[in-house]
Point group: C2
Chain length 304, copies 2
């Protein structure tokens, strides 16, 4: 039975796109619920300046609380908690809080890099090199963002992306999360990019990160599975997108992803009813519904 | 460049699941808008008893109006309009109205057949044989419903489904629309069923009909494409499902399907901006939003 590992990014990629802020207490509850659902990898948030993303202000406190709880056995062992770090300062703070894994961001186009993080690709790579050299036993994951298409430069050539990916991996990165940041890729785009990437690195180093902006996220996961990818990112409930808002652009929902994988006889170790309960709880806290399809339904009715 | 033909079923499968009724005038407007979007096959509704499905009361009038307009050149030539007929009486009325194509329903399980149309599979097949014999030049399409899973009997064996499909085709049916009526199939289910079906009939006789109940419709289309299927059913805007209602279960949205196919360099001849405009119009008429993902976005922004 094939096994897929899911990286839960709802607390980072999801909550940073939420208008309403979730308190430290609620975030901890969310981490706890997710941790007992069978997920083994989870981002807690971003170590960014509160001026840049105010929603992430409490992430250092949350990180300490979570890691303390884990060390005391209140949260399950065997879960890797991580956080996003945009720069050296963020990396240092994340490591001070005790994290053993961080994630970093490199854009595939100069325009997206400048507009999104106000930095050139070259400077991103410099920062990445510094981080990897300082990392010691801390594992560094990289989001290769706008890997299929850029909001400013349009569709990307797979070879260009693969070359950049290669340079990134050589810095000592343990995993590359190839991200369709604007949610515009389709099935064939994934097949093509994966073909180019596999010439540069083993497929087990690649994760895929899809947004469901145009409803293509699960199709793209299926394409990724076809090419041998076994790590996928997702957000509980699809948080970060809102079904009522134009341009809803959340990550693929964790429960929808697990549902599809379950039905394809692919093992994730994650329990859907617990995810659905967590989504219902989160919807109350955020005061709006979330896009996950499966959570619309009563899970008991699903398996008929 | 591969070509896919889309069968628009919004006026039938979509509107029959709508609480609010659309007037004859509005339905005609809808047919007109869809006809000028590049769609070549379209169901106008069902020839059922108004007691069974009141929403379909005006279908005979609509059919006459549409076919008259087409004969006068008001609606484009080259479009095949059809309608669903549940029985002999419906078939006769549809043919009287001038239709050259009808569709009929056969369930894959006895329980679903009884509960849904109050008839055994055996009697369905008898009716089908009668219809095919009486059809002359009128083409008969069959929906093979609950082909993947039945709400009462659970998951189906592909071989059982393929055997029934074979019996249906032998009656003189021109196309079998294999339907995931409860929207529970995933990628691998489609591959498996198609493998079984292809032993019994050429793939060009097969259409696929997916509901997006669990968000799997486009993934299943991708699986169908992999196996060589080139005809897919869809509903404008995903009408029949509602994003705000639990258990939303519309067909895959026509614009989402065309968007994916376009981006995969598969030709449909259908213009997405016209579909999006039609969905916006329909949302106003139905007084609620529709599930199509692409219509959430401004199309101009999509192609970057």
């Amino acid at each position: 039975m094939p096994v897929v590992r899911i990286v839960e990014v709802g607390l980072r990629d999801g909550l940073q796109n939420e208008a309403s802020e979730l308190s430290l207490k609620d975030r901890y509850q969310l981490v706890k619920k997710l941790s007992f659902s069978g997920l083994k990898r989870m981002e807690l948030g971003s170590f960014v300046s509160p001026r840049a993303i105010p929603q992430m202000q409490c992430v250092p406190k949350l990180t300490k609380k979570v890691l303390l709880a884990q060390s005391k056995g209140v949260l399950p062992k065997g879960i890797t908690y991580s956080a996003f770090v945009p720069n050296r300062r963020g990396f240092e703070r994340a490591v001070e809080c005790g994290l053993k894994e961080v994630s970093f961001f490199v854009s595939c186009t100069e325009s997206f890099s400048q507009k999104n993080i106000n930095m050139s690709i070259k400077d991103s790579l410099k920062n990445l090199r510094w981080i990897c050299r300082s990392a010691g036993k801390v594992k560094v994951r990289v989001y290769l963002s706008a890997a299929f298409s850029c909001p400013y430069e349009g569709k990307l050539r797979p070879l260009k992306v693969a070359n950049l990916a290669d340079r990134i991996m050589q810095k000592g990165v343990f995993e590359l999360s190839v991200s369709d940041t604007i949610g515009s890729a389709v099935y064939t785009d994934v097949l093509k990019l994966m073909k180019a990437l596999q010439k540069k690195m083993p497929v087990k180093k690649v994760a895929l990160h899809f947004h469901d902006t145009r409803g293509m996220a699960l199709v793209n996961v299926a394409a990724g599975l076809e090419t041998g990818v076994r790590v996928f990112d997702s957000s509980i409930g699809g948080v970060g997108g809102c079904p009522y808002a134009p341009g809803a652009s959340g990550n693929v929902a964790t429960e929808d992803l697990v549902y599809m994988l379950d039905k394809m006889n692919i093992k994730t170790g994650v329990e859907i009813p617990k995810l659905i309960k967590t989504t219902r709880w989160l919807e109350k806290k955020l005061k709006h519904s979330l896009p996950a399809k499966i959570s619309f339904l009563k899970y008991k009715k699903l398996d008929k």
